[in-house]
């Protein structure tokens, strides 16, 4: 998670640095244009300004892994960036292509024909490297064939921009099934890093060239120093702020998860209390009391089914004073067994109403059941017992997810029994997989304490809070899990990071204005 964040910060810093250098180039050309106002000079000046703007926009575009849904829609941001980028390259290329090259002796090259660009929307995305390449070629022609050798660094920078643009295009091939290619093209993969390194190189080459001119005059020098300083301050502030923000979101998430796990524990406890209240009410039903006293099994069977359906329990048993099942709501023919060894039934036979969680074997995983018992009395005499049971299944944890938006699970022993977690097919629940993390086993299952931290379930990384699920004797029989995908936490923080990046970019642009006036004012004062 943190590596992705650092890569994103690197992307932000590189783009803003590039934007600054391109802005410096714009400043250099506009300085020249002010002296000699030609259309070509205007085109070139605007071209560098647009390129600078495009990299400012680019700095605020986060990878999809960090930001699932962008504030301004990812496609809008990319579209805006491409628009300014292509427009910038195009204007620079037009200016270069329409300029007469001062030929060297014996060189027969005059105007270079302006190629008619067949603009195709489909090819819109590949325009950037093509236009950057054309600009690089024309700078090279001017430097190598023409007399303007001093623009060689600009040509080199544009060649590097071309490479960077080409590398960024490769992300279109991320759907490959070739592992090597996938690793090369993955977000924050080798190609991604290479693209940013090349971009940084291009920026350094162009920066060295442009600052060589700008630093010869006092006012632009001062202005650029102010701008660079402002950029540095903004970058440091943004990095520290977003880093602290992410750490805070992570800590907050873990604390919130622990609270939510306790809410789930409370919900289970409430369900137990509700179960006990229900079973007491059922046991006090006069019709049921009479049925147990008279042992009218047929009537009790119907009553048990009726209670079962109305209360939506999984099982409802009525026992006589010998502990024999004389009615079973869910299967009225399946009676006659004895439950005298059941610890809860023993408590009911002692006159106590009680409830608790038990685990029983299931097909793939243990089944967690809430059971509650109450004695059936005639006066003070205990004549039978009512037992209700409800399976704590996926529907229960689904309800928790609906209320909190978090993933919730219940483990029977260390095996996932009921869960909202889905396998990769988005249909199958991850029921049956085991928790083998030794920290969790020691803390939750053995020591009966809470656990808070990162876990891996079904190959996905989660921030999780785990609480022991206790039986009536306070012995851990399983675990309550509430978790949130780690990537989701990063993406939640991603919104704030995106907003911070955009605000920083806007403020950086705005800070240019006071920088300009301050530098001009100081210059005038010195003069």
């Amino acid at each position: 998670m943190w590596s992705q964040f650092l890569f994103e910060i690197a992307h932000f810093a590189t783009c803003l640095f590039t934007a600054l250098v391109l802005f410096a180039t714009f400043w250099l050309y506009q300085d020249a244009w002010k002296v000699r106002k030609t259309m070509r000079g205007f085109l070139r000046t605007c071209g560098f300004l647009f390129l600078s703007i495009s990299y400012v926009v680019s700095s605020a575009i986060l990878e999809a892994t960090v930001l699932k849904v962008s504030l301004f829609s990812a496609s809008n941001m990319v579209g805006l960036q491409l628009f300014f980028r292509n427009l910038g390259y195009l204007l620079i290329f037009l200016e270069l292509a329409s300029e007469k090259i001062e030929s060297r002796p014996k060189t027969q090259l005059s105007y270079v024909a302006l190629p008619a660009m067949a603009v195709s929307l489909v090819a819109f995305q590949v325009f950037s490297p093509v236009l950057a390449l054309l600009a690089a070629i024309f700078y090279s022609i001017k430097a190598v064939i023409g007399l303007e050798a001093h623009v060689k660094p600009a040509a080199a920078a544009f060649f590097l921009f071309t490479v960077s643009e080409l590398l960024s295009l490769l992300s279109l091939f991320r759907q490959t099934t070739n592992v090597t290619l996938f690793h090369l093209l993955a977000p924050f993969g080798i190609i991604w890093i290479a693209q940013h390194v090349v971009l940084l190189l291009a920026t350094l080459v162009l920066g060295r060239w442009v600052f060589g001119y700008l630093l010869k005059q006092f006012e632009p020098q001062l202005f650029m120093m102010f701008s660079a300083l402002t950029l540095a301050i903004f970058l440091i502030t943004t990095t520290v702020f977003t880093g602290l923000l992410l750490k805070s979101v992570q800590d907050e998430s873990l604390n919130q998860l622990e609270s939510d796990a306790k809410v789930l524990q409370y919900a289970l406890d409430s369900k137990r209390t509700e179960g006990v209240a229900d079973v007491i009410a059922i046991a006090q039903n006069p019709e049921l009391e009479k049925g147990v006293a008279d042992k009218t099994k047929e009537q009790l069977g119907m009553l048990a089914e009726q209670f079962l359906l109305s209360k939506k329990y999984s099982t409802l048993l009525i026992l006589d004073d010998h502990g024999q099942v004389i009615a079973r709501g869910e299967d009225k023919d399946n009676i006659g067994s004895f439950l005298n060894d059941d610890s809860l039934v023993k408590r009911a036979k002692a006159g106590e109403a009680a409830g608790g969680f038990i685990t029983t074997d299931g097909v793939l995983a243990p089944v967690i059941t809430l059971r509650a018992v109450a004695p059936v009395k005639t006066g003070d005499q205990i004549i039978g017992t009512v037992v209700i049971g409800t399976i704590i299944d996926n529907a229960f944890v689904d309800g928790i997810k609906k209320a909190t938006g978090l993933q919730a699970s219940l483990y029977g022993n260390n095996t996932l029994s009921a869960t909202t977690l889905l396998a990769a097919d988005n249909t199958t629940r991850l029921t049956g997989i085991t928790e083998n993390n030794q920290d969790i086993i020691q803390r939750v299952f053995i020591a009966g304490q809470n656990f808070k931290g990162g876990v891996t379930i079904g190959n996905t990384l989660y921030f999780a809070a785990d609480l022991p699920l206790l039986d009536t004797d306070n012995t851990p029989i399983g675990m309550i899990f509430v978790g949130r995908e780690q990537q989701e936490v990063l993406q939640a923080a991603g919104h704030s990071v995106e907003l911070t990046f955009i605000a920083t970019a806007v403020m950086l642009v705005l800070s240019i204005i006071p920088s300009f006036f301050i530098s001009r004012h100081i210059t005038q004062q010195i003069r």
Partner: protein, 745 residues
């Protein structure tokens, strides 16, 4: 002069090389080991926590691999735990603990295992240890490893034992201290403890005591007689009881006096004051037991529980008549007693039975003086339905193997699935024949489901035949879905199988858009895993996107393409790795630097499977039925999807949700038949799930045979006339259901 020098140098180089190379081929090993298991007995159908502790003697720095094999097929290993870095994986038969590096044995290994439904004499666990992560050159362990099964567990669902025994640090509680049998030289002191503990009394004429009496036998009731006491003397006493864990409870000081038949005991706080009254002489009691006879002829087969009648007589008066259906373990009152309190009475009762089965009936009469008489055990057999099994599901660990659309199951030789199904008609045993080899099936007393693990190592198609037998010796045969066992995937090079090649599986995390090592441990598998001497590996991957990488010594790494699985799928591809080029110098083989790798396309097995044909019902009318008021004529007029399902199937709620969505389409009938389940439990299931589509219970499983249900769920697609046009097995998505409906309009 120079030649000897060169020779010496060459010799030195050889020695140096040998010094570097040879030690790598010498393996440290486990020389001996010993293990003891606790407990050594368990009851039927019980989930038991077995604790293993012992030692190992090794020449290396520890042990990396410990394997426990169950004592017999009567046990199924469910999971295991240990402290430290040890991780457990099990296939139900064996459980393997592995550590990332050689390490000392932990204090104990804990294994959870479920015992079967029948008694079994003591059989030994097999414990092996190795200092190698792949278990090579494992040593077998000695020790007390026998475990037997005897006695029944309660039929009630009981809480599963906790994962690791919590150390007992609680002292017993002493209560009900009674002094009796007082004479001029002795007294008897009795007391109870709330847990099993030994008995000890310190006594004397002062609170310093000085004398003691003890009984080392652990019990919850204690009695110690103190002799050689002085007459007419007051003594001070203090009771101590120590439990098995060494926790000792002591009572406060109390006093007692000799030469009196009645004595007063004063015990503060935890000790109760008890006065033992002098027995009052009573008249000679009535010791004549009543007589009880049954007039109903039993020991035969009934369709339903019969009314059982009889008479009870006594010389005084009959106080109670009770019966038992479990050979005297539990008793309940007879339904009707003619003249209670008289010397002779008639009685009758209809035993409460749990459907088809064999019941051991006993009747007892008790007179007013608590004398009682029991009848001999009489057996009744209730046989309403022939034994019949329903559709089955196949699972490996937490993964359910989806049948292919034609109903066959595909797996690997080393990953044989567990088979689970329900049965009606009270079968007492079910034989599963796997290509003429018998596999024991056991019934889980809690879920009442039958299950067993298939065995077999050959890569053939296994035909599964079952025979259910009930108490009336009715036998029902049924064929289940065939299981196609693919040969394990292998890694080889030009010379043949590669031993010890590392097979790694990488899983695609769609959120992070990155691959990471697949967490096989949670699925009871290993990743990475190392090939055996035959170059074999075993993988059953759940749904997801993956790629595999194979690394073998001195070969170029091999990588598959990225592939996506929509359901659990065995991987059985044979990979051929290419040796890196090397330079041979005598015995030395020096590889050239080679950082390249080979790519290979994955070949998933499902594409080449074409076995059983389940569409034999196509063209036939759907069988007539009347279940919970729904009849077969309700299926006419529109295309219909009938799904046979059960509530215990783990995917049932998911499949129900999809069918519920389909049911909103007015142009299609949908019907769900819950096979071999009671109407009430199906109603609860439907109500809890909030399903509005018709769901009916086929409690007797009458449609299982005519519909030839072998796996669950099974979907039947019907045209407007009620004719079956297609039969498909497995969980289907809404799109698949709609597609099949459209195809069969």
């Amino acid at each position: 002069m120079t030649k000897p020098l060169i020779r010496t140098l060459f010799l030195l180089i050889l020695i140096l090389i040998a010094g570097v190379v040879l030690p790598t081929s010498i393996q440290a090993s486990v020389q001996s080991c010993g293990m003891n298991v606790s407990p050594t007995t368990t009851t039927r159908d019980t989930s038991t926590t077995f604790s293993f502790s012992g030692f190992a003697s090794y020449s290396g720095s520890g042990v990396m691999w410990v394997r426990f094999t169950r004592p017999s097929a009567n046990f199924t290993i469910t999971s295991g735990l240990s402290t430290g870095a040890w991780t457990a994986s099990t296939n139900g038969t064996q459980l393997t603990f592995t550590a990332p590096s050689q390490t000392d044995l932990p204090g104990n290994f804990t294994i959870y295992a479920t015992s079967g439904g029948s008694d079994a004499s003591s059989a030994d666990w097999t414990v092996e240890m190795s200092d190698s992560g792949d278990g090579s050159a494992a040593a077998g362990c000695d020790g007390t490893l026998g475990v037997s099964i005897s006695g029944s567990n309660s039929v009630t669902p009981t809480p599963t034992p906790t994962f690791t025994p919590t150390p007992d640090t609680t002292a017993p509680t002493i209560s009900n201290v009674v002094v009796s049998g007082v004479s001029d030289s002795s007294v008897t002191i009795t007391w109870n403890t709330n847990e099993s503990a030994n008995a000890n009394i310190n006594y004397g004429t002062t609170t310093s005591y000085g004398s003691s009496g003890s009984d080392t036998t652990r019990s919850t009731t204690h009695s110690l007689t103190l002799n050689n006491l002085s007459s007419n003397t007051t003594y001070h006493g203090q009771i101590q009881s120590t439990d098995a864990a060494g926790n000792t409870a002591s009572s406060n000081d109390f006093t007692f006096a000799t030469s009196q038949n009645t004595t007063t005991v004063t015990v503060t706080t935890t000790v109760t004051t008890i006065v033992t009254p002098t027995p009052t002489p009573t008249p000679v009691p009535d010791r004549t037991p009543p007589k009880v006879t049954l007039t109903t002829e039993l020991n035969r087969v009934f369709l339903t529980a019969p009314v059982i009648e009889g008479t009870a007589t006594d010389n005084k008066a009959i106080a109670k008549v009770e019966y038992s259906i479990d050979d005297g373990q539990n008793w309940t009152d007879a339904d009707h007693i003619d003249t209670l309190g008289e010397k002779k009475t008639g009685f009758s009762f209809t035993p409460l039975t749990r459907g088809d089965g064999i019941y051991s009936i006993k009747v007892r009469a008790i007179d007013t003086n608590d004398n009682e008489t029991e009848t001999e055990t009489q057996t009744i057999i209730i046989d309403r339905l022939p034994p019949a099994i329903g559709g089955a599901i196949f699972s490996i660990g937490p993964q359910i193997l989806q049948p292919s659309p034609n109903g066959s199951i595909v797996t690997l030789a080393g990953l044989m699935p567990k088979l689970t199904f329900a049965a009606v008609g009270g079968p007492t045993s079910i034989k599963l024949m796997v290509n003429d080899q018998s596999v024991p099936m056991t019934q889980n007393i809690q879920t009442r489901l039958w299950s067993g693990s298939l065995v077999g190592a050959e890569s053939v198609t296994y035909k599964l035949e079952t025979e259910s037998i009930d108490d009336a010796q009715n036998r029902t045969a049924k064929s289940l879905s065939p299981v196609i066992v693919l040969p394990d995937g292998t890694v080889s090079d030009v010379l043949g199988a590669v031993n010890g090649a590392e097979v790694r599986v990488y899983y695609f995390d769609s959120q992070a858009q990155d691959f990471r090592l697949w967490g096989a441990e949670q699925y009871g598998q290993e990743n990475p895993q190392f090939t055996d001497a035959q170059g074999r590996y075993k993988l059953l991957l759940p749904a997801g996107t993956y790629y595999l990488q194979i690394n073998a010594s001195r070969t170029r790494p091999l990588r598959t393409n990225i592939f996506t699985l929509t359901t659990s799928t065995p991987i059985a591809q044979d990979f051929t790795v290419i040796k890196k080029k090397s330079f041979h110098f005598g015995l030395l083989n020096i590889p050239f630097p080679d950082f390249g790798q080979n790519d290979v396309m994955i070949n998933l097995p499902e594409k080449s499977i074409n076995e059983a044909d389940t569409n034999f019902l196509v063209g036939e009318s759907f069988p007539s039925f009347n279940l919970d008021g729904v009849q077969d004529d309700a299926l006419l007029g529109k295309p219909t999807v009938v799904t046979v399902l059960t509530t215990w199937l783990p995917q049932s709620s998911g499949q129900m949700s999809i069918l519920e969505e389909l049911s909103h389409d007015q142009s299609v009938h949908t019907l769900v038949i819950m096979s071999q389940e009671s109407t009430a439990s199906v109603n609860v299931f439907a109500k809890r799930g909030g399903y509005s589509l018709p769901v009916v219970a086929d409690s007797d499983g009458v449609l299982v045979t005519p519909l030839r249900v072998t796996t669950l769920p099974t979907h039947y697609f019907l045209d407007r006339k009620g004719e079956i046009t297609k039969v498909v097995s497995g969980v289907l998505s809404k799109e698949q259901l709609e597609q099949y409906v459209q195809e069969n309009l």
